[in-house]
Symmetry: C2
Subunit: 180 residues, 2 copies
């Protein structure tokens, strides 16, 4: 961030009066520009015991598999975001269920939420951001080709809960990947 | 938003290629500036059966009571945000518990999260954004002087769960307040 989006003035980084953290402050109009984490919302959509995954047609992680998920938009609820993303990425309509997991990814300023859901009618197809969409039994999940660690965590917890016959809410924090 | 925070160019509002919603796009450098919901995170901190509330020293809702809560910052987890806000607004250290509720407030582009927690040592005091801090029994909660509907929902669910002897995760959506 270099310029004020209100007046076009130059931004400086300093701790505003009464604040405790450095912020981008406009030298001309004084506007303070905060940066806050973004929500990524998705769905574990089940059909006849199998889970819907999408193979990514975009970066990051092009070619790897993920749950349908994406950035929440202004003006929608978290459940609406999960429904919309599943429609956009997998052309699939879902009956949304309960919130299943929250994964903090603080080093990239994201919070991931995954809902449980059921495919309606069992139909799906790749959306514009997917190369391929498919249903997977637990023993077919491409664990080594999953795009994101939050998806791996979420799916492992989902199958563990399903085996026990009881779904509970899960919360996890991810550290930066080891740099080797 | 009028100007690009990258290059200072003028922004126009249009649907970028491959997108489905109007965005702020820089006419000079082409950067797309997305707007996304913000997370507000707080805590229901209990001490000897009573709940810690703060009377707001800032707008909006100056003078009304709320749970300690505030905007999540980049680089922290949701639980860390709840701990930090409780320290900032009520000078209170807490042992953080489980996530208790998520409240969507789509008309103001916010998602509110409230954790359960316990005060450590039972000490608290007004932080810079609070006029007053106090512990309330269920029958003392100033229901008509609560600052936010999400706090009211959260507290009602909390006391109902506590009476039943079992806390579960709650999700709610708030509509805009009736305009009368």
């Amino acid at each position: 961030m270099n310029y004020c989006n209100q007046c076009g003035g130059t931004l400086e980084v300093r701790v505003p009066e009464g604040d405790s953290l450095p912020r981008h402050v406009c030298e001309r109009c004084g506007a303070i520009h905060y940066l806050n984490p973004k929500l990524v919302v998705g769905c574990i959509a089940e059909w006849e015991g199998r889970i819907l995954l999408c193979r990514r047609a975009i970066e990051p992680r092009h070619g790897l598999w993920t749950l349908p998920a994406g950035f929440m938009e202004n003006g929608e609820t978290t459940a609406q975001a999960a429904v919309r993303e599943t429609l956009e990425e997998a052309c699939a309509r879902i009956e949304i269920g309960e919130l299943f997991s929250l994964v903090n990814v603080p080093h990239i300023n994201q919070v991931h939420l995954f809902y449980r859901g059921r495919l309606i009618g069992g139909s799906f197809a790749p959306g514009i951001e997917s190369l391929e969409t498919a249903l997977f039994d637990e023993n077919e999940i491409p664990w080594d080709e999953l795009a994101f660690r939050s998806v791996t965590l979420c799916l492992k917890a989902y199958f563990a809960d399903r085996r026990r016959g009881r779904f509970v809410f899960h919360e996890d924090d991810l550290l930066p990947p080891a740099a080797y």
